[in-house]
């Protein structure tokens, strides 16, 4: 008994150090056990995990962008617009680069990624200027710019899909490195590590959390809030553009209305991942876990033919509300203790 007590206490402190993270891990574990019992063969295969790993980066990348905006107390609802705008423009470029034999020149993929990042960054800077210089509430500014970007897409394509460009692009991105790891996953992991580093190890990250906690205090501490916000939205636009490039590869075409459900999904993922919608709080580990949890839920449910895929929204919504309610209880109890002490 005596030996067990400190172990239990240790568990308690580990859990208390980040309740949110642990709760997500428990939920993933429970779901995996459940699937293991009921549908082991259909879920636990290398192919299935590879498929999931190539699917989630498209919205996972967008969610990373929404996350950093939310840490500043803002939001980016234009991610899907930016992603589609980038993928359509790049699809046209690929179309013009496609050779008669259906191949692509060697530099093409680097060129489209470079331009995509630039377009995403520009679109993000546009959002950042609306939010910082014109003081438009982020939810309205990015909703407006999202519509604007989608509108540009529609005007360019007249609503049609842009396809028939060389399959080389799609095949490259759909490659598996070493026959195992999907390239999409690699792009996502690189961005996630980059943002993790930015948030936890740089001046910019610290300032971001501070700005999200109190814009006023940030101003009175001599921070350049406008510049910080513009950088934040620029980064979000960049993430969204990469998401668009993954979509372009996964669908082998681009269209103005691809991924429209992702806007809200991204917001849900980020909140589920423990980012405070009022700003100042949130870690990338939580967001990554919530991306994985939701992908697993969706894929897992698809393994039950009797459950229609129409139930997926219902389950998503249920999980989100459950987590928020649990948060209310734990946050509330800690808040209470702090206040009195």
């Amino acid at each position: 008994m005596e030996a067990k007590a400190p172990l239990k206490a240790k568990f308690a402190t580990v859990y208390a150090s980040d309740r949110h993270l642990w709760r997500l891990i428990f939920m993933i574990a429970i779901w995996m056990i459940f699937i293991a019992i009921t549908r082991f063969q259909k879920f636990y295969s290398v192919l299935n995990f590879q498929t999931m790993a190539s699917q989630f980066p498209e919205f996972g990348l967008m969610a990373l962008g929404v996350m950093i905006c939310m840490i500043t107390g803002g939001i980016d609802l234009s991610v899907v617009g930016v992603a589609n705008l980038t993928s359509i423009l790049m699809a046209y470029l690929l179309l013009s680069l496609t050779t008669a034999t259906g191949g692509l020149p060697g530099y093409a993929i680097f060129l489209v990624f470079f331009l995509a990042v630039a377009i995403g960054a520009l679109a993000g800077i546009f959002n950042g200027i609306l939010v910082s210089k014109f003081h438009i509430p982020p939810i309205l500014a990015t909703m407006g710019s999202g519509e604007l970007f989608t509108g540009i897409c529609l005007a360019l394509t007249k609503g049609n899909a842009v396809s028939k460009f060389s399959r080389t692009y799609s095949m490259t991105i759909n490659n598996k490195i070493g026959g195992m790891i999907p390239v999409q996953l690699v792009i996502f992991v690189i961005m996630a590590i980059f943002i993790w580093f930015l948030l936890s190890r740089t001046v910019f990250g610290t300032k971001l959390y501070m700005l999200g906690t109190s814009e006023r205090a940030a101003r009175f501490s001599g921070l350049n809030n406008d510049r910080l916000l513009i950088k934040t939205y620029m980064l979000s636009g960049l993430c969204a553009a990469l998401g668009g490039m993954v979509m372009l590869a996964n669908y082998n075409s681009a269209r103005a209305d691809y991924g429209t459900v992702y806007t809200l999904q991204c917001v849900l993922i980020v909140v589920l991942g423990g980012v405070n919608p009022n700003g100042g709080k949130g870690r990338i580990s939580g967001v990554v876990l919530s991306i994985i949890l939701l992908r697993m839920l969706e894929t897992g449910i698809n393994r039950f033919p009797s459950i229609s895929s129409y139930y997926i929204s219902l389950i998503w919504g249920g999980v989100l509300i459950l987590v928020m309610v649990l948060n209310y209880f734990t946050e509330n109890s800690t808040r209470f203790v702090k206040k009195q002490a």
């Binding site: 190890r201 740089t202 001046v203 910019f204 610290t206 300032k207 959390y209 501070m210 906690t213 109190s214 006023r216 205090a217 940030a218 101003r219 009175f220 501490s221 001599g222 921070l223 350049n224 100042g280 709080k281 203790v337 702090k338 009195q340 002490a341």
Partner: protein, 494 residues
């Protein structure tokens, strides 16, 4: 001897291991003005909340208006005539005066529809009780603090009120408004309403109250007739320490001024302000709330850029258009509202200390140097003796005095030449106030140039070498602090 209106006996209350009240006994008679004093964390607020039913005591009993209660619920408290006016007044800023006043009785009568005529009548009667004149259709958000307070008082009086508890009612009021408030309190007293006045300002306690009760760390340390109390006893009871105020003497004033302002002004706020500030000097700027002192302070930090006039730093003409340029010219600003402007409350003490100097704590290209960071934090926690077990704790866990030290550390870490302090000890308890004054005086002697903006006249007199008095946007006198006294400053201010 009249019967006690309220008698609370042997009240104990603890929160998760912290004993907030220990055997506190408290009584108040009808028509009595009773002052409840104590430092932050002494248990004042807990006691108020027990009396008004927000918290239930762990043990002890309460008797109000002849009725005994084990514990009183908030509804019972209101029904039996206890009203609390909190510091934020609990008004709805987006509604009109009339709606604010009539709202409670509309709810109490469970009315489903709005009858504007009836509401106007209720509101008119309510403000007439204290002869308060205000436009009933004005939005409460647009009123001054004092007017909001009057609305809260009017609202409290709409019920059959026997006891009004006011939680630090004078914090944001000008001298004149405090006078008005005291007149109203005296009128209420005549009508037999008891007032429990929470304050830690000595002069107010003397001016208004009949009896006093002082709490320290949850225990009753003294209570009795205010007439028997003096300033020395008061601060001793509050803190358990004895203080001797040390008057500041500037020891090494630089020959050349570090900052010269020439006829600076902002349309509608202040005009024609010129002064020189030397290193090693502390200038006090005082004046009434609307004298333009705060705007002047903000203009020195670039939050409100000046329209006219010019700044010279080290003899060179400079423009200060935003906080970044102010910081670049080595000017720091300790804001008036520590909670919303000075601190990132939910963030760690550590990040709060280093946020302004963070650009220097890097290995390269914006990557944080964790060692430099921890060293800086440890240095400032030690240097300003910030009382915390772990600097990674959120800074809202600290007391007002310690929080103010964090804001101070943030600027000192930048190695500035000029520090502008707006109300450096507002909401800070007596002990910490004394310590902060000592820190400021030492900083000046080490060569920092300081400007203290404050309406706490003893503070200005004790800590400054020169005092500028402002009135209606202009500097009306420039006094040598050694030769000035409170009366003299007041006569210039009014």
């Amino acid at each position: 001897m009249a019967e006690n209106l309220l008698k609370a006996e042997g009240i104990y209350k603890s929160f998760v291991g912290v004993q907030a009240l220990k055997n506190v006994t408290f009584e108040i008679k009808p028509g009595e003005i009773h002052c409840l004093a104590g430092e932050n964390g002494s248990g004042k607020s807990t006691l108020i909340k027990i009396i008004s039913g927000v918290y239930a005591p762990d043990s002890g009993s309460m008797e109000f208006a002849g009725k005994k209660y084990e514990k009183i619920t908030p509804i019972e408290a209101i029904k039996s005539g206890i009203q609390v006016i909190y510091q934020d007044f609990s008004v709805f800023p987006n509604l009109t005066v009339m709606e604010n006043l009539a709202f409670n009785s509309e709810l109490a009568d469970r009315r489903k529809f709005v009858n504007w005529k009836r509401m106007r009548k209720i509101a008119t009667e309510a403000i007439a009780k204290i002869d308060f004149k205000v436009d009933l259709d004005a939005l409460v958000g647009s009123l001054t603090v004092a007017e909001k307070q009057m609305i809260a008082i009017s609202r409290a009086l709409m019920f059959n009120t026997k006891l009004i508890i006011m939680d630090e009612p004078t914090t944001a009021l000008t001298k004149k408004e405090v006078g008005n408030l005291f007149n109203i309190i005296l009128k209420l007293k005549e009508r037999g309403i008891a007032i429990l006045f929470v304050s830690h300002k000595l002069n107010e306690v003397f001016e208004i109250s009949d009896f006093f009760t002082i709490l320290r760390s949850g225990e009753l340390v003294a209570s009795g007739n205010t007439a028997d109390l003096d300033a020395k006893k008061f601060s001793y009871f509050m803190t358990g320490r004895e203080f001797t105020a040390k008057r500041f003497e500037a020891k090494n004033i630089s020959s050349e001024p570090i900052l010269e302002t020439k006829n600076i002004g902002i349309e509608g706020s202040f005009q024609d302000v010129s002064f020189d500030l030397h290193k090693g000097e502390i200038i006090g700027i005082t004046g009434l709330l609307d004298s333009g002192r705060t705007e002047l302070a903000l203009s020195l930090f670039g939050i409100l850029p000046i329209d006219t006039g010019s700044f010279k730093i080290n003899g060179k003409q400079v423009k200060i258009t935003n906080p970044q340029t102010a910081v670049a010219h080595k000017i720091g600003y300790l804001p008036e509202d520590r909670l919303s402007e000075g601190l990132f409350l939910n963030q760690s003490i550590a990040d709060n200390i280093i946020i302004s100097e963070i650009d220097r704590l890097t290995v390269f290209a914006g990557v944080l140097d964790t060692k430099k960071r921890t060293d800086e934090i440890a240095r400032w926690v030690k240097e300003l003796s910030i009382a915390t077990p772990n600097p990674e704790n959120a800074c809202q866990t600290l007391s007002g005095g310690n929080q103010q030290r964090i804001v101070l550390a943030k600027w000192l870490a930048l190695n500035l030449d000029i520090l502008v302090l707006n109300g450096p000890t507002v909401g800070v308890d007596i002990g910490s106030k004394h310590d902060i004054h000592e820190i400021l005086q030492n900083l000046a002697n080490e060569g920092l140039a300081l400007i203290i903006i404050s309406d706490d006249l003893p503070e200005v007199l004790e800590n400054c070498s020169r005092i500028l008095v402002m009135k209606a946007g202009r500097v009306v006198s420039d006094l040598d602090a050694a030769k000035a006294d409170e009366q003299m400053i007041l006569s210039y201010m009014m």
